[in-house]
């Protein structure tokens, strides 16, 4: 305080006591110009800094929005992928076992196809036929449909493609229905389809 009071108390000389020289007017102009030059860059830098800050904040916001948007998209796609995985599993379950040899063989046998015995080969070099050259005699070397002995629980109830009411376990046994006449006893005995009935004893 005392320093300032002293300064105020001391009268400042309004005119420089130094006698006028040739270079004096130049010095005074410079003193005025210099603060003006300093002020202008300060404002510019301030604007740049503020703009920069806004820009950074804006960019960050945009990035953040994009990331969030991306994670929603990701969640959506994950959901879709999961649905497709389920679909794939369902379809895989549906066709499981259809490619098995017993299913193929039962289908073929149901069509009347047989597994031939000895094959014959045509030799291209001289046109000779190698092998037994016999025709298939209509009997298969194994009975793929009548005596299917290689079970497959996956397709135990799956109908054959060629005979829809049969499975790999064989053709359906024809059930002969004997209509009962109004509570009375049918006067014709049921037809025997599988030999004489035998009692099952143990």
């Amino acid at each position: 305080m005392s320093t300032i009071a002293n300064a105020l108390a001391t009268p400042t000389p309004s005119v420089a006591p130094i006698p006028a020289r040739s270079g004096a007017p130049d010095r005074r102009l410079r003193l005025v110009e210099t603060p003006a030059r300093r002020r202008r860059p300060k404002l510019l830098y301030g604007i740049v800094a503020v703009l920069g800050a806004f820009l950074i904040a804006g960019a960050q916001m945009v990035l953040s929005i994009m990331t969030t948007q991306g994670s929603y998209e990701l969640a959506e796609l994950t959901q879709e992928q999961r649905a497709l995985t389920y679909q794939k599993q369902i379809l895989y379950d549906d066709v499981a076992g259809l490619s098995s040899p017993q299913y193929l063989a039962a289908n073929a046998a149901a069509l009347g196809m047989v597994i031939d015995e000895s094959p014959s080969y045509l030799r291209l070099s001289d046109g000779a036929i190698l092998g037994a050259s016999q025709v298939a005699l209509g009997s298969s070397s194994v009975d793929a449909i009548g005596r299917g002995a290689v079970p497959n629980a996956l397709i135990a109830d799956t109908p054959l493609v060629t005979v829809p009411d049969a499975t790999i376990d064989g053709l359906p046994v024809e059930v002969v229905e004997t209509p009962a006449v109004d509570g009375g006893v049918s006067n014709t005995p049921p037809p025997l389809t599988d030999g004489l009935p035998t009692p099952s004893t143990h």
């Binding site: 499981a96 076992g97 098995s100 015995e117």
Partner: protein, 594 residues
Amino acid sequence: MTTRSTRSPRRRTVVALAVVLAVLAGFIVRLIDIQVVNADEHVSDSLDHAFAGSQTLYGARGSIVDENRQTLAGSILLYDCQLDPLLITQIDEDVLAGKSSARLWAAVSEDVAAITGQTPEDVRSIVEAALAENPDSRFAYLKKRVTTEQFRALVDLNTPYIVCLQHPARAYPDGAVAGNLVGFVGSDGAPLEGLEQSQDSCLAATDGKRVYQKGKDGVVIPGTERVEPATGGGTLQLTINRDLQWYLQQLIAEQTQNMGAQSGAILVYEVETGKVRAAAEYPTVDPNDVAATEVADRASRIFRNQFEPGSTFKALTAATVIDAGGQTPHSTVVVSGSETFPNGARVRDSFQHPAYEYTLTGVLIDSSNAGISKFSETVSPQTRYDYLRAFGIGSGTDSSYPSEASGLLYPANEWGAQTTYNTSFGQALTTTMPELARAYGAIANDGMLMPLSIVESCTLADGTVIEPERAEPTRVISESTSAQMRQMLENVFLQAPYAKNVEIPGYRVAGKTGTGEKSDGNGGYKSGVYYTTMVGFAPADDPEYVVVVTLDEPTKVTSSAANAPAFQKAMTQVLKTYRVMPSTTAPELLPKFG
């Protein structure tokens, strides 16, 4: 207080800076404490407290494929569905009080039952039983192992009280085809039998984990997800051909039934490589439905059974006496139907006959026990023992089938008077089907014994291919002995009484039958029932495949002739499957008698 020092602007700056730095240092210390020193603790805390989610990522167990990479065993997902009985009653109460518009359990249970294949009463009784036991029960299994389709249908019902959890499981698309080799896993996924068990280190997967934080709407918060990926199991490739395997399984099933046998088996062995192309047996297991099969039939008899081979071993004795005893297919002995030997042993043939001058070929054709016993005297018992060992009898194979049996062969110095002769025609010792196939393979393969295998390779998830360790091929007999043996065995199939039954038009086939005695468990043999074998190879002039057919106690035909139809069809199918060309040369007939 205002002192001179604080009045100075410079000092003030220094003090302010020091304070700021001190605060900053405090923050840094705390930051390092949180982010580095106790980071793990805080991360796990945050996962516990925040909307943390974690998920087990199941790696799929590797598949088992056949020679042509057709799937024999694969992994699928099933679901275990559970109910919340308490929530069901609460929702029902709300509905009855008019507070909720949900459907009543009575109605929903009808839909649930229709989906799972249970009856509505069953479904309702699950809930009732759980509530009877504990009125606050929040858990009861609705049904285990439901399919994906059923699971999705249950989810579509949109009920809060049904929850389904994943249950990795196995599916065997071909059912019982090669089920005896592939084996099966338990309902908990633990491998129990067959190659599933012995090759578990190849097939087993490593589960992974996914940990994340999620927002209220279930969306994963970016940057919080951490994934340890699951590693799938390796793919196990077998040497089996599944189409051939199916045919032979169907065939042996029919033949076993036709012959009234207890069980039957067919083994196909590739001569040049030692790879098993089919190992079919009946009865056998369908790995999709293990419970449907008797416990005794769930493993492979081919690899677990040992049996007394009988006459099939006469060929091994013949090979020994040609290779080490200076004999030829034309060498002769004079034998009658029953012979007594100097050491007191007595050997009888299966049929009565006067003294014949049999050639070695003739002994094999008529399967004369006395004849092969006389021939066996041309080498020492120790030499015969060494040859049997070299043929791999009693040492098992490298098949990788778990708990594989091996034959039982006593050292020559323990052989008694009778055993010395009986071993020449396959008694007083046991073998297994793989051992027998491999020994005949050596006879057919110019005398080289190839290691037997059913596992081709294991391809790990990262693409590394691991081949199982196999023994080195070894020479058992010379090439010329092998050639003479092939010729003799072909003559057996040309001149034996069952020749017509084993004939394959266009092909030259060689082989031998065996009728093994079965122990009655009291030191004697069962009477009237046998373990019958037929082993052969084709084409006889350049063998490619050995086929062994066995029947356990056939009753319609009790001798090894019972195996002839199965052998003939099996060999035909093998030759067809592998496109083996018919023979263009004619066999040379050898004399039976000298």
